[in-house]
């Protein structure tokens, strides 16, 4: 039978307010049951994630063009694929573009998601419908979204050009996606649009776990809207912020490929050449699987580096607060 624990303890433990079940004592056979339940998942994860990761790492030391048995046709080249990156101008270009794409995408995604989640974190008639509508971009496939935005960005008849005209701005003559200065921000906008729903959902969940009593107390103490956000809501969702940032980071580094491939193919003049697209082109178009694997390792290192920075930044902020 579940035991009652005091509400403050439940909150501090991150559990829902109210009745909380204490973990029952371990029984014989639990390990077997657990293994049976997580076994398939671990197997699939190993086969489709862990093995490819180490496979890619191994492949990066070989040259292989996909023809024939890799164990007999792949040629050992040591670090050549890595040293080649230093003389390949497209690597630097694509890394810069990727970092820009991620930075200009993740930060707005985090803040806009939080803002939108706060907007719908109220009970009002039709709230369910509004919340459902927020999920539309996530329900539409990325390819379909790209095609929709292609029409929005169309130079002569596109919605964005029309809006530019309406506010007295001159849209780029060749279109947003064909102009060096606008192309990458335009892709960022699409990616933000498609990534927002998951951010909003996560933030909404986090917001609903902040006790209303805490916000009420802050209000009674004279805290205005900004102070409530700054000192109550923002710390209350900080764990979720890290999660949203990580998910966005992955979405922007990986998801950027679909958009680039459909909308710009790295154009104009490498303005949207992201690392993931360059990896794809090198592997699928040029059959340089070894070099593509080395580039993938580079991308992995970059993502891990950013994640480490994110975690460190969060810990710094937590300590500071």
């Amino acid at each position: 039978m579940a035991k009652l624990i005091p509400e403050p303890l439940a909150e501090s433990a991150g559990a829902p307010v109210g009745l909380v079940a204490q973990a029952p004592a371990k029984k014989r056979g639990d390990g077997l049951a657990a293994g049976f339940m997580i076994g398939p998942n671990v197997t699939l994860f190993t086969v489709f994630v862990v093995v490819p990761i180490f496979g890619a790492l191994a492949l990066s030391f070989f040259n292989w063009n996909l023809s024939g048995d890799p164990f007999t046709t792949a040629k050992w080249v040591g670090l050549s694929n890595y040293t080649k990156m230093f003389s390949d101008p497209l690597v630097l270009i694509s890394v810069k573009n990727t970092l820009y794409f991620v930075a200009m995408g993740v930060v707005p995604t985090v803040f806009i998601s939080l803002g939108l989640a706060m907007l719908i974190n109220f009970r009002f008639p039709g709230v369910s419908i509004v919340r459902s509508l927020y999920l539309v971009p996530a329900a539409v496939s990325l390819a379909a979204s790209a095609v929709i935005w292609q029409y929005i960005y169309e130079p002569k008849f596109g919605l964005l050009s029309y809006l530019f005209d309406q506010v007295g701005l001159t849209p780029p003559i060749n279109g947003f996606l064909s102009t060096t200065a606008y192309a990458l921000p335009s892709l960022d906008l699409v990616c933000v649009w498609t990534t927002l729903p998951i951010g909003v959902l996560l933030y909404l969940a986090a917001l609903q776990r902040i006790p209303a009593s805490v916000i009420e107390a802050a209000t009674l103490d004279g805290a205005g809207w900004f102070r409530r956000v700054r000192y109550v809501i923002w710390p209350g969702v900080s764990n979720m912020t890290l999660l949203v940032a990580i998910i966005s980071l992955i979405a922007f580094t990986a998801g950027g490929f679909d958009l680039v491939n459909i909308l710009t193919r790295g154009q104009p003049i490498y303005a949207t050449e992201t690392l993931i697209y360059y990896i794809y082109y090198t592997a699928v178009n040029d059959f340089q699987w070894g070099y593509a694997a080395a580039l993938s390792v580079l991308q992995f290192v970059i993502i891990v580096g950013i994640l480490v920075l994110l975690v460190a930044a969060r810990q710094f902020l937590v300590r500071r607060s």
Binding site: G78, L79, S80, S87, P89, R265, G266, Q267, I269, D286
Partner: protein, 472 residues
């Protein structure tokens, strides 16, 4: 600590050590190999390279590519051959839409603005002048000009950017039939002094236009005309008007009826009016080309470029391919300057070049003396690189079929006065060539030259206006 925990830790440690060792061994072995290869092959990467090449450039390209293949076997070149008709830009656009533009794209001078504004090629300034490429002045200035949109060109952001690097120096010269000249009493002494009359004399590289007219009249005998000139803005008319002090077809406006144009056209139309020039009607039949007239023996002298040489060898004028049958002279001087026209084909790097390093490496090799050697050996190439074009020991100067006074090509390459202007719509086009023919026919049928020029000016102005509105 339990036994199980200790064994798990030991297992983890073993995996970590084994992984690190394998990685270290792999890296160490690879570093050695890669460092060795990097030292041995500067300007040599690995992977594919794709090139679009014109059909008439295929032979010299293949020769250069074979040299590059030997130098850098780790780059695999594939190429597509295209013709220079109106469908060429369309084909490139289609490739661009499919994301399949080749890394390197060939062009010719007057086509380059179209490829630039269509977003098919990228500016090269960021690669030129870098330590791992060549400086912009490595190429003959007169040839590079074709590929640098000047002030006034649209779009404005392209001004000053170089989009292509010229392959060859197709500067105009006059080919002559040695036998015809000898028969008429003329000899060629390139460095001497020109002294000519109707009964013969000596022609040097610094002959003047007036002296040339005397020679052409003297060479006109029977069914053979003294000269064949081309009603072609780029080959003859633009440079001569420029030497007279005006720019005929500028970036923003045309000047084809002022005093400079009048003086130039008087010189250019003189041979036609006195009957020593192949008639324009014949030229029109020949597609405005002089080569057929010269090669068939209908003209004793004709304006042409180095690219005509392979065709001339083996023609009637030079049936045995003997270097002594034909000769070459620079364009005759006007006011001390050779009014030389010029043009070229050139390489550009496409906006979708995914093998940028390989493309730049290939171009680096191609424009080196060793890279050019194969292309030069095919006979139709005077390198557009200043140092190689002026080098008397370069392979192109040793070509077996070289004409008498081969050095005249170098003089021409270095003295190009005007090339295709660099604003879309203002380069000589079919319409403007038609204006020119109409003007010439009008003069030949009795209209005064000034009046005919005024009519042409009005037509060209209208063409400029429509070209600009089309861009706007």
């Amino acid at each position: 600590m339990t036994r199980r925990t200790r064994s798990v830790r030991l297992g983890k440690r073993f995996i970590a050590v084994a992984g690190a060792s394998a990685l270290a061994a792999g890296l160490a072995g690879g570093v050695g190999a890669s460092v060795a290869s990097a030292k041995a092959k500067p300007f040599c990467t690995s992977g594919p390279l794709t090139v679009t090449v014109f059909n008439f450039s295929e032979v010299p390209f293949k020769a250069a590519a074979a040299g590059f293949k030997k130098y850098c076997p780790s780059v695999h070149i594939t190429f597509a051959v295209q013709t220079t008709d109106n469908l060429y830009p369309v084909a490139l656009q289609t490739e661009k839409l499919a994301g399949k533009l080749t890394d390197i794209v060939e062009t010719y001078d007057s086509l380059s603005p179209t490829l630039e504004t269509d977003g098919l090629v990228q500016p090269l300034n960021k690669y030129l002048n870098k330590k791992d490429f060549y400086p912009a002045n490595y190429w003959l200035k007169g040839m590079s000009q074709s590929y640098i949109p000047p002030k006034g060109a649209l779009p404005q952001k392209f001004v000053g950017e170089q989009f292509f690097v010229p392959i060859e120096a197709d500067a105009t010269v006059f080919y002559y039939n040695v036998a015809d000249l000898t028969k008429a009493g003329f000899t060629v002494n390139p460095t001497g002094t020109t002294s000519v009359s109707a009964s013969g004399g000596t022609i040097s590289d610094s002959w003047t236009w007036q002296q040339a007219e005397t020679v052409w009249s003297a060479l006109t005998k029977g069914s053979t005309y003294g000269v064949c000139e081309r009603p072609d803005w780029q080959a003859e008319w633009n440079p001569l008007i420029k030497v007279e002090g005006a720019t005929a077809l500028g970036e923003a406006s045309a000047n084809v009826s002022g005093s400079a144009a009048l003086n130039a056209f008087q010189l250019l139309l003189g041979p036609e009016q006195n009957g020593s020039d192949v008639s324009f009607a014949t030229l029109t039949k020949n597609g405005d080309q002089c080569d057929p007239s010269f090669e068939s023996g209908q003209a004793a002298m004709s304006v042409g470029v180095r690219g005509d040489l392979p065709g001339i060898i083996g023609s009637q004028v030079d049936p045995t391919g003997s270097p002594t049958d034909i000769g070459v002279l620079p364009i005759p001087e006007v006011d001390g300057v050779h009014p030389t026209g010029g043009g070229s084909v050139a390489w550009g790097v496409s906006t979708q070049a995914h093998h940028l390093k390989a493309a730049l490496d290939f171009l680096h090799y191609f424009y080196s003396p060793a890279g050019y050697a194969g292309a030069e050996a095919t006979g139709g190439i005077v390198p557009a690189v200043a140092s190689i074009a002026a080098d008397p020991t370069a392979p192109w100067t040793k070509f077996a079929g070289n004409p008498v006074n081969n050095a005249a090509y170098s003089i021409s390459a270095a003295s190009v006065q005007a090339i295709a202007p660099q604003t879309q719509g203002t380069v000589f086009n079919d319409l403007q060539a038609t204006f020119l023919i109409n003007m010439i026919n009008s003069v030949l049928s009795g209209t005064s030259l000034q009046s005919a020029l005024n009519t042409m000016q009005t037509a060209v102005n209208s063409d400029y206006a429509s070209a600009k509105s089309g861009l706007g």
